[in-house]
């Protein structure tokens, strides 16, 4: 079966000023199949949101190809007709900024229905919007219809954003940090809602986050891609990656995660890192981009950029070192 969205050898560069260019993505390959949940994790500036924007089709990669259902979307003959545009939708991090503050929930949602001629007349539109709000758990819908975004809580606003993204039956939703601004007690309920949409309507999700814990909760059996400074450093099934991480960077990320068990959390930990500082745009290291921070790096790491290569099944890593110590889960602190 064709992947819903596929990126092949995607590179993205941004021109910073007349002289300097910044490479935001290097050789990204990604396949998102129908109904799949995939996570992209990494720290700020690693390019994870740029991948989201490329999948959405709002950003054209400098090099490489993007396919929707096997069709190359940046081809001059490609038609951006309505059904194609509806295929991929997005849920943003900040639900406050992504909803128009001057329009009620009904106005925001009904516009889409009317524009796409899904409903006819006010009565029909109103009842459709009501049923949509019920699906995402905003009940009773009458209470929410004529509210403005500022009258809702963060969790409720995010539910409205999710409704807006699902109205047009998309194949894929790009969820860019959808719960990082939502209160802790409600985070799981938003993730649960998206899991339900995935199960009931077969919508695939690309979950972009810096939080490995919510990724683990949401992605379940799906894949995870770990990014560092524009490149994929490790990818595979999320369970395998968290239980058996191989790249030194993923080791560092996992060691930095706090747990909610105070006796474990308080144990003194040494992060497996040589340096805290991320490379800067003007001063990119040669070879593996992680080598200045990697405690295991040696000569080859400073010279050559490691290719992503398979270690087992779908588990791939871009690292020269086969002597990176095995990850021991229970002694990590």
């Amino acid at each position: 079966m064709m992947p819903v969205v596929e990126l092949r050898h995607v590179n993205m560069e941004f021109q910073l000023d007349r002289k300097r260019r910044f490479t935001a993505l290097r050789d990204i390959n990604l396949e998102i199949n129908e109904g799949e949940i995939t996570a992209i994790v990494g720290e700020s500036g690693c390019g994870k949101s740029t991948i989201g924007r490329i999948c959405l089709g709002v950003l054209k990669p400098t090099m490489g190809a993007v396919f929707y259902n096997g069709r190359y979307i940046w081809d001059s003959g490609f038609s951006w007709d309505k059904p194609t545009r509806c295929m991929v939708q997005v849920v943003h991090q900040d639900s406050y900024a992504s909803l128009n503050p001057l329009r009620t929930i009904y106005q925001t949602l009904s516009d889409i229905l009317r524009f796409h001629k899904i409903t006819r007349g006010d009565k029909d539109t109103r009842s459709k919007v009501k049923s949509l709000l019920e699906v995402v758990g905003l009940t009773p819908p009458e209470y929410f219809l004529d509210k403005y975004p500022f009258q809702l809580s963060g969790g409720q606003r995010q539910r409205v954003s999710i409704t807006r993204a699902t109205i047009l039956n998309p194949k894929l939703i790009i969820a860019d940090e959808p719960v990082s601004a939502v209160d802790a007690s409600l985070r799981l309920s938003i993730l649960d809602l998206m899991l339900r949409l995935n199960k009931e309507f077969g919508i695939a999700f690309l979950y972009i986050t810096h939080d490995l814990a919510t990724a683990r909760y949401f992605v379940r059996d799906g894949r995870m891609i770990v990014m560092y400074f524009g490149s994929v450093v490790e990818e595979g099934r999320i369970r395998e990656l968290i239980d058996n991480p191989r790249h030194p960077y993923l080791h560092a990320l996992l060691s930095a995660m706090s747990t909610s068990d105070p006796s474990k959390a308080k144990r003194k930990r040494e992060l497996p890192l040589k340096s805290l500082d991320m490379p800067t745009v003007d001063n990119l290291p040669s070879g593996c981009l992680f080598n200045p921070r990697c405690p295991y790096a040696d000569e080859i790491c400073e010279k050559e950029f490691p290719q992503l290569s398979t270690i087992e099944g779908e588990h791939r890593i871009s690292c020269y070192l086969d002597r990176v110590p095995r990850w021991e889960k229970h002694s990590r602190n």
């Binding site: 409720q156 309920s189 747990t259």
Partner: protein, 328 residues
């Protein structure tokens, strides 16, 4: 009465914000003591009143805030709500300092870091010689693991987010305060930087014996740093106790729910559950226990009577009618 055990004692504190629709009860008649020399975490979700609590202590509430008549906030026995301008000026930064949320933007972009440090010292008329000040500043920067030569001569934009945050922590310590409040000190930072800053904070706490309070919504940050925990919800204190008793044997359904709603990289994902419903409208709080509409244990009494903080043993206090049923 002199109290050597607690640095801060809050009695009947009530803070309301006047808005067009009425009064938002942000902090609702709470009593709270902060132990000297300990690291206390105040945990809660947005709107629970944790930041208002801070702002009362530093007297930086917004103009539409009204503090209740019977409210008292004692810092080492002195009522902070009665300080005049000059005393307040002496109190801030020298006695209690604060590291603000989004502190990365709290530095003046137009001044070099060294000038910002020296400004604070000069403004508080400590009478210290510049050379001595610089020596002390160097030591403080060392404490937060920064290269003082590089940092002092830099402008804030030349530093990374994590470095700026560490600079702010050092700056807060520059007048040698007794009490340091950290309001969400790591929210905008990446996890590796966060973890590093947590280590630095633990180190400072141990080395200087400073009383510290962490205000956060991040339970795992509290688990890592705090000795004591205060759980707040909708302007009320739900539970207080030492970190192990709260995290391992909480007596309050809200704290338990919150802990159970935290995804983790360990354990089974399927056991995690969100708390049903959403936090109450602060203009229109539910009668009785503020948490009862979302609580699985709620009974008749919960909708009628507001539970007070009850001692449940071992220094642990819980505001719940049904805490005996909530026992693990």
């Amino acid at each position: 009465m002199p109290d050597t055990e607690h640095i801060l004692r809050i009695k009947d504190l009530r803070v309301e914000y006047r808005v067009r629709e009425g009064f938002v009860k942000s902090v609702d008649d709470i009593d709270l003591d902060i132990e000297k020399g300990k690291f206390t975490a105040i945990i809660g979700e947005s709107g629970c009143g944790k930041s208002t609590l801070n702002n009362v202590i530093m007297d930086i509430l917004s103009p539409n805030a009204v503090i209740g008549k019977n409210s008292r906030v004692f810092f080492n026995g002195e009522d902070l709500l009665k300080l005049d301008r000059e005393r307040l000026r002496q109190f801030r930064w020298r006695k209690a300092a604060m590291v603000f949320q989004a502190a990365q933007n709290a530095l003046n972009p137009l001044l070099k870091v060294s000038e910002q440090f020296l400004d604070v010292i000069e403004d508080h008329e400590t009478g210290e010689k510049k050379r001595e000040s610089l020596q002390r500043i160097n030591k403080l920067l060392e404490l937060v693991k920064l290269d003082s030569r590089r940092v002092l001569s830099s402008y804030p934009h030349e530093l990374s987010g994590g470095m700026r945050q560490r600079t702010i922590i050092a700056l807060a310590l520059v007048l040698d305060p007794e009490f340091l409040i950290l309001d969400e000190p790591t929210t905008a930072l990446d996890i590796i930087t966060q973890s590093y800053i947590f280590d630095i904070l633990t180190d400072i706490h141990n080395r200087l014996g400073l009383t510290m309070a962490l205000v956060t919504h991040d339970i795992s940050a509290a688990a890592r740093l705090a000795d004591n925990v205060v759980v707040m919800y909708a302007g009320k204190i739900m539970e207080t106790g030492d970190i192990h008793s709260i995290f391992n044997s909480s007596r309050h359904p809200y704290s338990r729910g919150l802990l159970n709603a935290m995804p983790s990289i360990e354990g089974e994902t399927v056991k995690k559950k969100p708390i049903p419903g959403s936090p109450p409208d602060l203009l229109n709080k539910p009668p009785g226990c503020v948490f009862h509409p979302r609580c699985g244990l709620a009974g008749e009494i919960c909708a009628k009577e507001e539970p007070g903080l009850e001692d449940t043993g071992g220094g642990h206090k819980t505001a719940c009618h049904k805490w005996r049923e909530a026992l693990p």
